[in-house]
């Protein structure tokens, strides 16, 4: 009887890249539901736009680079990148803004560097930071959260879609009337005007620790992160180090003066902290590889986020912090190489 001859090892774990990406998407689903509940259907529209553009760009880039596109497209990494980018954008974002970010993320940040596995920067964050630099006005206004004591004008799916596509709101509704600054922006601006935290948080956009609504989304993102940890898709080093790197300095300042510094929990539940810690800084391609390297990388993301929030002009700093640490990864990898056995 004849048999196939292949090289050892013959036995492989069933996990593959597409499976990992699928798990990431599953893990984001509860947060997406919460997000939609609090901020309306805008996220879903952003996802549709970002994903369509991402996949089209990926297919085009693969074809230009002369690669067979079916296998590379099926890995799902472009889709994950698009969804992460969509999570960072305000619910009301014109389609062309999202599309620009998505095309840049896949076309430039990913494929110009050599495609999956070779990109230096986290593509989603590169796309987001491009938009932040190019169209800051479109990224500043968020909808107020759908919580009981906030009076706001909810937009239906059709109204959101109309805005996304044409940029026009229903008659009689002004953009300024439906959008609000994010809690991080509010804190930054108000602290700059010498108001105390105690005075600031009475604003109804604040909840118990962070922004109203944001807290719940944060909880669901954490749930997704724990799922990824449980499934072995990510390891604990990056999220733990990043959260510690952000919250420890915040705690220190908070202990020195609680009236002029937001609490560590506010930092935890605001902006991109949890999404960054569990879904973005953990991106394998652009993060360090060894456990020790990941601790360094995560801590760096956390500290830089804190520094940008505290001293910088941007209210949030997760995206820039992640990109800066991406740059440091080759060096971190170099200095955290393990000692080989017997050396």
């Amino acid at each position: 009887m004849k048999f196939g001859v292949v090289q050892a090892p013959h036995w492989r774990n069933a996990g593959d890249v597409a499976g990992m990406m699928r798990e990431v998407l599953y893990a984001l689903a509860p947060a997406a539901v919460a997000y939609t509940y609090f901020f309306g259907p805008g996220l879903l529209l952003n996802i549709v736009v970002a994903a369509t553009v991402a996949i089209a760009t990926e297919a085009l880039a693969l074809r230009l680079r002369g690669r067979t596109s079916r296998l590379a497209l099926s890995d799902g990494s472009a889709l994950v990148c698009a969804v992460l980018l969509a999570f960072c954008l305000p619910p009301l974002t014109p389609w062309w803004v999202t599309a620009c970010g998505s095309a840049f993320a896949i076309g430039v940040a990913k494929h110009l560097y050599g495609g999956l596995g070779f990109n230096v920067f986290n593509p989603a964050m590169a796309g987001y930071v491009l938009l932040l630099a190019a169209f800051p006005g479109y990224l500043a206004g968020w909808l107020p959260p759908n919580v009981g004591d906030l009076d706001y004008r909810a937009l239906s799916l059709a109204e959101s879609a109309t805005y996304t596509v044409t940029g026009s709101l229903p008659p009689g509704v002004e953009l300024d009337a439906v959008t609000r600054a994010t809690p991080l922006t509010v804190v930054k601006a108000e602290l700059g005007q010498m108001r105390t935290m105690g005075e600031i948080v009475v604003d109804p956009v604040f909840g118990d620790f962070g922004g109203a609504g944001w807290e719940w989304i944060g909880n669901f993102i954490t749930l997704g992160g724990l799922w990824l940890l449980y499934r072995g898709i990510i390891r604990w080093q990056v999220p733990a180090a990043m959260l510690a790197g952000l919250m420890l300095p915040a705690l220190l300042l908070y202990l020195t003066d609680a009236e002029t510094h937001p609490s560590p929990l506010f930092h935890l539940y605001s902006g991109g902290t949890l999404l960054g810690a569990f879904f973005i800084a953990t991106d394998p391609v652009s993060s360090a590889v060894t456990d020790r390297g990941r601790l360094v990388c995560g801590a760096g993301c956390g500290l830089l986020t804190f520094a940008i929030r505290h001293w910088g002009i941007y209210p949030d700093g997760v995206a820039v912090a992640v990109l800066l640490m991406n740059l440091a990864v080759p060096t971190i990898d170099r200095y955290t190489r393990p000692r080989p056995y017997g050396y």
């Binding site: 001859v5 090289q7 050892a8 890249v17 393990p338 056995y341």
Partner: protein, 466 residues
């Protein structure tokens, strides 16, 4: 890295007084590398070892590990069981495993990493079994000088039965003081159970062999290492050690993780020390012997029989009745498969050895060698065909699992660039070719095969830039 709680001591090269003492230690030593998964061992260890009937024809491969032996017989000659039929330059012999007539001496297909041919002696069995006159028992091996023990072991053709086939006599004459003998009963590859059933059924024989090896080495201590998932073997060894009284032999348990049974990994787990790069365990004062090899030594001195048989696990879903068989060397594989109930669900792959480091055989028209510890007839559901390779996503899984603490993804990138300086800096030569990195890689990159090829090439041209 290793669980402690043992009296571990001393620097390399020191002698007995400072050797570690192992007692019975039920606390498993847990590696922080390797893979932990289904082991598929239950399917072959339910039944006792069965003695395979004598084959009608025995094909004896003259290549053993690094050495090729010169035949001592010509076609047509009558040979008795246990009669030397070939000898290599190191004095290790190969013996007729059946009584009969030599029908051919020449190249035959033999099992190997690739389909290959090697010189073989083929014997047709004739008449009743008769043992050769040189097969004489030794009442008390401890009265023999160590050099004489080693000479007899070489003359009996005993080689490392774990698969490496390195001549045992050479390992037992290391030329440096030895602190302890480490008995490798850690059969870490999935599917294989030949050492486990041996320890379960013939622990006393392994202990007797260990005593002889300790005598040859002048070592006062030994430890038998078994895996955490072989409780019956552990109890059997424990009971046999108690029955044998204090013999300086301890028992240690190692977590069932692949490749805890690799020689270097076992040294690390049992002693907390690492074999220096390019060195051997003896540089630390340890010698590692496979449990099956020690049982063969015990058989030699007890009955005078040279190495003419070994235990082979025949397993996988592709055979109907998996089990362990004590088969004569040279037995056709097809006969073992028939003993194990024959093929079913037609298997798509036939492996000699385990699924991690074993060889895929082109067909079953081959014979048992001294390296044949296991035959896996695997269905496509058990061992799927390789998936298409994707780019490395730097997930780090290979780094976490590598027992040599290498960076397989960087090694792979350096290989693709042809960057030999980086390969050397990343210590490609510390790779033990265990296959763990492949196992975990979500991008299905054939890392190990590429490392093996690069190392072979490196060995073939020593002047290659390095």
């Amino acid at each position: 890295m290793t669980a402690t709680g043992h009296v571990m001591s001393s620097s390399p090269g020191t002698t007995d007084s400072t050797a570690p003492r192992w007692r019975y230690d039920p606390q498993p030593r847990r590696p922080d590398w390797g893979i932990h998964g289904t082991t598929f061992k239950n399917i072959s260890k339910q039944t006792p070892i069965r003695i395979a009937p004598l084959p009608a024809q025995a094909t004896l491969c003259l290549q053993q590990g690094p050495f090729t032996a010169t035949p001592l017989v010509v076609p047509g000659e009558r040979v008795l069981t246990g009669q030397p039929i070939a000898v290599d330059t190191g004095g290790t012999r190969i013996h007729a495993s059946v009584t009969g007539r030599v029908s051919a001496v020449g190249l035959r297909p033999v099992p190997g990493p690739q389909p290959t041919r090697a010189p073989c002696v083929v014997i047709q069995r004739e008449g009743d079994e008769e043992w050769h006159e040189s097969c004489e028992p030794v009442a008390d091996p401890s009265r023999l000088a160590p050099a004489e023990v080693c000479r007899r072991i070489a003359a009996a053709g005993i080689v490392g039965l774990g698969g490496a086939l390195y001549p045992t006599a050479r390992k037992l004459a290391p030329g440096v003081p030895i602190r302890a003998l480490l008995v490798n009963g850690v059969e870490c590859e999935p599917w294989i159970t030949c050492d486990e059933v041996l320890l379960r059924e013939r622990a006393a024989s392994v202990i007797a062999g260990a005593r002889i090896a300790m005598h040859a080495l002048g070592a006062a201590h030994a430890v038998i290492a078994v895996e955490g998932d072989m409780p019956e073997a552990r109890v059997a060894v424990h009971d046999a050690l108690q029955a044998a009284g204090d013999s300086g032999i301890g028992l240690a348990v190692v977590t069932a993780k692949y490749p805890a049974g690799g020689e270097r990994q076992l040294v690390q787990l049992l002693t907390g020390e690492e074999v220096p790069a390019g060195g051997l365990p003896r540089d630390l004062g340890y010698v590692v012997q496979n449990a099956g090899t020690l049982a063969a030594i015990a058989t030699l001195f007890r009955s005078g029989e040279p190495l003419v048989a070994r235990i082979v696990t025949v397993t996988g879903n592709g055979v109907a009745a998996p089990g362990n068989f004590e088969a004569r060397i040279g037995t056709p594989l097809r006969q073992l498969v028939d003993l194990a109930g024959g093929y079913r669900y037609p298997p798509t792959r036939l492996l000699m050895g385990g699924p991690m480091m074993g060889w895929a055989l082109p067909d079953d028209d081959l014979a048992v060698t001294k390296a044949t510890n296991c035959l896996v007839a695997a269905t496509a559901a058990e061992l799927a065909p390789p998936r298409p390779e994707m780019p490395c996503i730097r997930c780090g899984e290979c780094v976490q699992t590598c027992p040599a603490r290498l960076l397989p993804h960087e090694l792979h990138a350096a290989l693709r660039r042809g960057d030999y300086a980086t390969l050397a800096a990343l210590a490609l030569d510390a790779c033990i070719e265990c296959g763990c990195c492949d196992y975990v890689c979500p991008s299905a990159i054939p890392l190990t095969a590429r490392f093996v090829a690069a190392r072979r090439q490196d060995a073939a041209e020593p002047d290659a830039p390095s």
